[in-house]
């Protein structure tokens, strides 16, 4: 094996009673791409945060380039040539790319020489690694894929030899993800070392040289990627065999529960995002909406759930119209049996600063079950939260824990538990498994199918084609705000991919 770029030896880290990392050993060879996989809450982010100086390990040793080091702050890590790209970007939105890159690395008061130096350095990095971005563009005007590139540039500008990426593709479109992987390969060819955390086992197979699996705070295995399979990795992660594609019986579609006719929605800038869309969802079926992110799916969900006003169209719930253009009130729709798992769980579906039990009633907080007159019935809320924690295996099972301290998959389970346990007639779900591990995906998919089998109408929007294909009884493809095709679950990936790219649509238009 080539010389190790990083060695972690016997790392331990606890948060109160939670042992996030126990006796972790990890060795990453220089000039390789090393993947880390594991369930939500397995301790992947914690381990990398220790390496990057965000957390201090309770015990253990870190070696960089063979030498023992102590890393107290991220500045220590940067000085050691370690860079990190976080899942949630740490960029200043109203700064330009260039300003973001030099932020924290400025070394003259008027920034004149810093800027000049940064400009030529950026130029070099761009040429060397194919990391093209306009240095004078404002961050807020860049798509996420490019923002992520800026994060990578920032790390390289600070001389990173070791680059850690925590779930970098969660927010990317497939094309953007491909581009990212080309960049990573190029970095590797230049001798950089890369650690990649991801839930997408396909990505692991496609790009890494070696892969480690974590489970409940321990490191359970390290494999050479070529010698392992997706099935083996999934099994190692969860500790049992995992169904990568959940089995489901034939659907028995009943009466129309949700009907959408000629719906048109504009965004805040007045751009038409949903353009004359019509479809029905019947009880007992799952309708999936596929499409590349940003083709109007989000606005569609928001309009149906009453969060966003529509321009025109008609939506009926159980045959009765929903007031779309006037005062659509999500609370009222909830009372009428429409539950909504929003795409953006961090800002919409949850209040991260709340305790878990407080989030488990969000939107249902005016339900008598949780109230005693004007007061919250704390005991009832707590009992209810504990109940859901048990049913949905939410970990750690502490309803008093701040929601921000749950891992992504468990946060998603909190939202799902809340919405599904209300026993709604219609469930609409945006990105059901974004950032969620394979075990939890299996769990969530099984629950959605169980809802369907109980005769509920389920509408799922996802940018993951695999997910859409394995869940849906009918698939609608959205492109540029329109539904450009409907297919059965047997549709091939290629066929759907073409529809998603708008190919057939354009040909038809010509």
């Amino acid at each position: 094996m080539a010389q190790a770029a990083i060695e972690l030896i016997g790392i331990n880290k606890s948060f109160g009673a939670v042992r996030a990392n126990r006796d972790i050993n990890l060795e990453v060879a220089r000039g390789t791409i090393h993947g880390i996989v594991g369930e939500n809450g397995a301790g992947k982010s914690t381990l990398m945060s220790i390496l990057y100086g965000f957390y201090q390990a309770d015990s253990g040793e870190i070696r960089v380039g063979g030498k023992p080091v102590s890393i107290h702050t991220s500045n220590d890590a940067i000085a050691l040539g370690i860079g990190m790209v976080h899942q949630h970007f740490m960029l200043v939105d109203n700064f330009t790319v260039l300003e973001n890159v030099i932020l924290g690395a400025e070394n003259d008061a008027l920034l004149k020489s810093s800027i000049a130096k940064a400009r030529s350095e950026l130029d070099r990095l761009e040429r060397e690694y194919g990391l093209e971005v306009d240095p004078d563009a404002l961050i807020e005007e860049l798509p996420v894929g490019l923002q992520q590139r800026v994060e990578i540039l920032k790390a390289l500008y600070r001389g990173a030899e070791i680059l850690i990426l925590d779930e970098p593709t969660g927010v990317l479109t497939p094309a953007e993800a491909d581009h990212l992987f080309r960049i990573l390969k190029q970095l590797k060819d230049q001798g950089k070392t890369i650690v990649l955390i991801t839930h997408k086992l396909r990505e692991i197979m496609a790009i890494t040289d070696t892969v480690s699996v974590m489970r409940q705070g321990t490191m359970v295995a390290t494999r050479t990627t070529k010698e392992t399979t997706v099935g083996e990795l999934a099994e190692l992660m969860v500790g049992r065999r995992v169904l990568l594609r959940v089995e489901k019986g034939e659907s028995e579609a009943g009466a129309i529960k949700l009907s959408v006719k000629n719906l048109t929605v504009k965004d805040s800038r007045g751009v038409t995002m949903v353009d004359d869309v019509s479809f029905d969802v019947r009880g007992g079926e799952i309708v999936g909406i596929a499409g590349v992110a940003g083709n109007g799916q989000s606005e569609l969900l928001e309009a149906i759930s009453g969060i966003r006003h529509a321009v025109s169209g008609e939506v009926t719930l159980d045959g009765k119209p929903i007031d779309l253009t006037g005062k659509a009130d999500p609370g009222e729709l909830r009372d009428r049996g429409l539950a909504h798992v929003p795409e953006d769980r961090h800002h919409v579906g949850l209040v991260l600063a709340f305790e878990e039990n407080e989030n488990s009633i969000l939107g249902y907080h005016d339900d008598e079950r949780y109230l005693k007159g004007p007061f919250l019935d704390v005991d009832a809320i707590m009992a209810d939260a504990k109940d859901k924690i048990e049913k949905y295996d939410i970990r750690p099972g502490n309803p008093r824990l701040k929601t921000a301290n749950f891992s992504g998959g468990n946060q998603q389970k909190i939202v799902l538990a809340r919405e599904m346990e209300q026993d709604p007639g219609v469930l609409i779900v945006g990105q059901p498994t974004r950032g969620v591990d394979v075990g939890a995906i299996e769990f969530i998919h099984k629950r959605l199918i169980a809802m369907r089998d109980q005769g509920k109408a389920v509408l799922v929007v996802s940018v993951e084609l695999d997910e859409i294909r394995s869940l849906s009884d009918r698939i609608l493809v959205m492109f540029a705000g329109r539904v450009v095709g409907e297919r059965g679950p047997e549709a091939t990936e290629g066929e759907l991919g073409l529809l998603m790219a708008g190919v057939e649509h354009q040909e038809a238009a010509e």
Binding site: A5, I11, S45, T46, S49, F54, Y55, Q56, A57, D58, S59, G60, E61, I62, V64, G65, K67, P68, V69, S70, I71, H72, T73, D76, A79, L80, G81, H86, Q87, H88, M90, G159, A160, E161, I162, S305, G306, D329, P330, G331, E332, H340, V348, G349, V351, F354, E358, L362, G363, H365, D366, L371, P374, F375, L376, V378, A404, N405, S407, G408
Partner: protein
Amino acid sequence: MSTPYAKLPAWADYGLIPLINLSVAFIVAGLVVVLVGENPFRAAVILVEGAFGKGTGIAFTLFYATTFIFTGLSVAVAAHCSLFNIGTEGQAYIGGLGIALVCLSLDSTLPWWLLFPLAIVASAAFGALWGFIPAYLQAKRGSHIVITTIMFNFIAASTMVYLLVGLLKPLGSQAPQTRNFVGGAELPKLNWVIELFGAKIRSAPLNICFLLALVMAFLVWLLIWRTRLGYEMRTYGHSPKAARYAGISETRIVLTAMMISGALAGMMALNPVMGDQHNVAIDFVSGAGYVGIAVALMGRLHPVGIVLAAILFGMLYQGGAELSFEMPSITRDMIVIIQGLVILFAGALEHMFRPYIQAIFASFSPKSVGIEAIKGKGA
């Protein structure tokens, strides 16, 4: 989850950091004292003794604290709904108008225990009204509440001047204030409580409004953390998007929060007006609304913290008055400077020392080390 930050133990967060901030404020204030040629240690002793040394001092300290508890709670309630209410000053002033109307018409007919509840309702209602208008403008017209509440402070001040030199002033009087209230408008003092502990009190304005303030602190805690309304306010305060998703009406929640905030501000006027002055005079609020912002921030928007911070500021007021009396070269203005320093370090620069303290904690906690850190060159 993927963006963790180093955390401090709770005792450091709520005890150590405020203590360090305060100490720095006092050190800098001490330097100011040195600059005017006085002994800072003696000054500190006078200040603390003035505030807590004698019964009278304690009574004055708590009297001022009462005022700040009301304004601090007012700011905090709005802040939990992510509304920055700078209008506490004006809302308190207008609250005084409500009290004046009640007292002027009924003070000779009703006993205090009937007049007081009426005055509470009037002050709260007038304060709430003064909070309602900016809230309405924000919710319906998008006018920013920080701007409008500041403007409403000016409007309140002008209105009160107009009324106090005209309608509300007794004929023939030269002073811009109402006539003195009599009988029922004089609230019972609480000085005897302090005297129970053996201290002597000459005359001090501490009155039952202090108890009312403590009750309101408890009610605010109940409101914020135990009621449906408080839940909705906090949801909106943390994430307006989540509130929209949860079916919480933005208009309703903004209006309600600001009216409660205004009502608390208005009730502040009870303390100086009915407990001490027995009239409504020009500028009787004299900045207590703004101090409320510092009190709320320092108290971390929690009623217990607010009560403690209010007592601290009460101490600065009372001890400061004593200090400028004992050390003539330290003027009233210098006391204001010292108060300003406390606000600066404890409120505005609250996070200044946090990174260093975190670093110190990090280096004490068992760590991820072999030997020395290799700084400088990359591996």
